[in-house]
């Protein structure tokens, strides 16, 4: 918590604060020209009284190619010379004496000092042949001759200066530019009348022969109500507005902004605004100096604001802590969600591959569905035909058996036929003995196999001769078999 400071006597009297900025013009940036304006104030911390602020606009014509140096010298000399006057005046000079000095001697002193400093600069850095060549290229040989004859032309610049002391304010101006004073009510006035000659970029200048004649000076005693705000600007500023009304609106606007947001806040924003004015307006370099009377109410307002800021900063800190923990919790949740999302993504991929499979399956179904249906129908038809087929199969089997049997019979018949043929041939070809034995065997066969006998009869119709009586050899054979059977029976008995 900030403790409210007691108002000092110094502040209660009147305190003044100076701020200001100078920016290079938008068209100067395009043309690769430097900022030819300058600004300075004393004391350096910008708190007074006494407080001196000066701005200067270095001329942009081709001949004034060192005007950036000229303007810097102008503001430095003005702040130093005027501060010196203020110090002298504080040693017992009355206001009318100070006014006379300011109106009569000060302009001469300023011009004389400026010229001396410029001459020193020319000696230290003589005008170069390159500078003259460039000038000739831009503005011709005559311009070149003019600068050679009077090198001080190259440094031409304007000067606007304001001195705020405890008892008076002094306003001085040479050349174009604007000084505005803003009352507490927001009303705007010009302490110095406009120089009607100064249009179309023509201006009076420190480099003119009798420049001090062209100074305009206004002395304001602080026995009157002091202004709330003093603005001093180079002409690039006012030329950025379509008319005087739009320009003068800067007075109440700056006053209100400083009252609401504080002069430091305005100071921070000033440079950006000046660049914007130049870009959207004149394109020229713009310099603005602001001197603000710090009222007690302003200071109280500042303390109140500090107290409120301290309170609100505590609240903000606790809120920030809450937000921090909430953020941490949120962060872990986010991590969880992230891993969940990873799983989900894998599942989605899996489903996607399944989906592909299903799609293929459906495609195949669509393709082969009709075939399957046809097959089903055919299968049903086959099932209906199945009993008939089985029956056919049975019959087929039976036929096969019969065929098999028939084959066997046929084979046997062949064998018998062959045998009988052979035997018949033998019987016919061999002598009777041999015929007898052969006939016996043949008869035996006929006796034991009726089928073969029948077959013989069928196959050998030529053998119709009457059957021959059985030979003794046949009997002997029959007895022998009987004997063997009996022997076998006996051998099996115990």
């Amino acid at each position: 918590m900030v403790t409210k400071m007691p108002a000092t006597d110094h502040i209660e009297k009147v305190s003044w604060r100076a701020i200001g900025r100078s920016v290079v013009g938008a068209s100067h940036i395009k043309a690769d020209l430097p900022n030819q304006d300058a600004i300075a104030w004393l004391p350096g911390e910008g708190i007074g009284p006494p407080l001196v602020l000066a701005v200067s606009d270095g001329h942009g014509s081709a001949k004034c190619f060192r005007s950036a140096v000229g303007s810097r010298l102008a503001v430095t000399i003005a702040t130093q010379t005027i501060t010196k006057l203020q110090e002298e005046s504080s040693h017992g000079l009355d206001q009318s004496s100070i006014k006379r000095i300011a109106e009569e001697k000060l302009p001469q002193e300023l011009v004389r000092t400026w010229r001396e400093e410029v001459e020193k600069h020319i000696i230290a850095e003589p005008i170069s042949s390159q500078e003259l060549e460039l000038l000739e290229k831009k503005a011709g040989a005559k311009a070149c001759e003019a600068v050679k004859k009077s090198p001080i032309l190259a440094y031409g610049a304007t000067l606007l200066a304001v001195l705020v002391s405890e008892s008076f304010i002094l306003y001085m101006q040479l050349g174009d530019g604007d000084i505005l004073i803003v009352e507490d009510t927001g009303d705007v006035n010009r302490p110095l009348p406009k120089d009607e000659r100064l249009i179309a970029n023509e201006t009076t200048s420190l480099c003119s022969q009798d420049a001090w004649h062209d100074f305009r000076v206004y002395f304001q005693s602080l026995l009157e109500q002091p202004p709330a705000l003093i603005l001093a600007a180079t002409d690039g500023y006012s030329n950025s507005f379509p008319d005087e009304a739009n320009f003068q609106k800067i007075g109440p606007d700056f006053l209100e902004m400083i009252r609401i947001n504080g002069i430091d806040n305005v100071d921070k924003k000033l440079e950006g605004w000046l660049r914007e004015y130049s870009r959207e307006g004149s394109g020229d370099d713009i310099t603005l100096g602001i001197i603000k009377r710090m009222r007690q109410v302003d200071i109280d307002t500042v303390h109140d604001r500090i107290d409120k800021l301290a309170e609100s900063s505590n609240t903000h800190v606790s809120k920030l802590n809450e937000i921090d923990s909430a953020l941490q919790s949120l962060s872990s949740k986010v991590s969880e969600q992230k891993s969940g999302l990873e799983g989900f993504r894998a599942r989605v991929n899996d489903l996607a591959s399944q989906k592909t499979f299903v799609d293929k399956h459906e495609m195949l179904l669509a393709k082969y569905g009709p075939v399957q249906e046809e097959m089903t129908i055919r299968l049903q038809a086959l099932e209906l035909e199945l009993p008939a087929i089985m029956q056919l199969e049975e019959e087929n089997k039976k036929l096969a058996d019969k065929v098999s049997k028939a084959q066997w019979v046929l084979a046997a018949a062949f064998v018998l036929a062959f045998a009988s043929t052979v035997m018949t041939s033998v019987l016919w070809l061999q002598p009777s003995s041999a015929n007898g034995s052969s006939q016996t065997t043949s008869n035996q066969n006929k006796a034991t196999d009726p089928e073969a006998r029948g077959l013989n009869e069928r196959i050998s119709p030529a053998d119709n001769a009457p059957p021959q009586p059985l030979s003794s050899g046949a009997e002997a054979n029959s007895g022998s078999r009987r004997d063997r059977r009996n022997q076998n029976r006996r051998s099996r008995q115990p």
Binding site: S61, A143, I199, N201, E202, S205, Q209, P242, M257
Partner: protein, 235 residues
């Protein structure tokens, strides 16, 4: 209150005025050549204006024959500028035209924040009215004195003395166009090179003026070379 202190912002106006002779002697080829030359110069003029966004170029035209009349009365932004053909016939009341231009250079309607206006006077003959009164009326106005003045003579019959008086600077001479091609060159130069110079003037000091009292508010670039006299010089 807006975020930025002050009211609306605006580029500085730059008034460009064609002052055209429409007398009977201009009838035929000359007036047609002038119409063509101004039409042809419009795109280059628009380009110069685009390159200098901090100058708001506004164009007007006044014609003089029997008396004078604004051909384009309201200043037109150069991006919207279209040329309507002039027709010729009558006397050469140049003085009247200058006094009418002088009326438009008063403050108001002019603002003291303007850039130096550019006046281009094109004539093929001698004034038939009080030229001096017209010129005096122009030079009486603060902005009249600060204008950049260029003059173009069409043909051999133009009064170069009058055109030189109009310029008011012996370092700048009237431009002599004896054929359509040269006229186009000069019209284009006036509407581009001169316009460009007037678009971004640097501050000039009274010390500079003291050394060259007739110098205009902006340096006028060298005009194009018309080339040697030839059989094309029909005027």
């Amino acid at each position: 209150m807006t975020n930025r202190p002050g009211g609306e912002l605006a580029a500085r106006p730059l008034h460009f005025i064609w002052i055209c002779d429409c007398s009977g002697s201009m009838e035929g080829d000359k007036i047609q050549a002038l119409n063509n030359a101004i039409k042809e110069s419009i795109p280059s003029m628009q380009q110069v204006a685009d390159e200098n966004p901090n100058a708001a170029v506004m164009v007007r035209a006044i014609k003089f024959s029997d008396g004078a009349q604004w051909h384009i009365a309201q200043p037109v932004a150069v991006k919207d500028f279209l040329w309507t053909d002039l027709t010729a016939g009558g006397l050469t009341d140049m003085g009247k035209a200058l006094s009418m231009v002088a009326d438009q250079l008063k403050i108001p309607p002019m603002t003291d924040r303007a850039l130096p206006p550019v006046l281009v006077l094109i004539s093929d003959g001698q004034p038939t009215d009080d030229f001096t009164s017209g010129l005096n009326a122009l030079m009486k106005e603060r902005w009249g004195q600060k204008t950049v003045r260029i003059s173009i003579a069409i043909g051999q019959d133009a009064d170069l003395g009058v055109l030189q008086k109009f310029i008011g600077n012996h370092e700048i001479k009237p431009l002599q166009a004896n054929n359509a091609e040269t006229l186009i060159k000069y019209v284009k130069w006036a509407s581009t090179a001169v316009l460009k110079s007037a678009s971004s003037p640097g501050s000039q000091t009274d010390a500079e003026k003291a050394q060259s009292p007739v110098a205009g508010p902006v340096p006028v670039p060298a005009p194009p070379d018309p080339g040697p006299a030839s059989q094309d010089d029909v005027w």
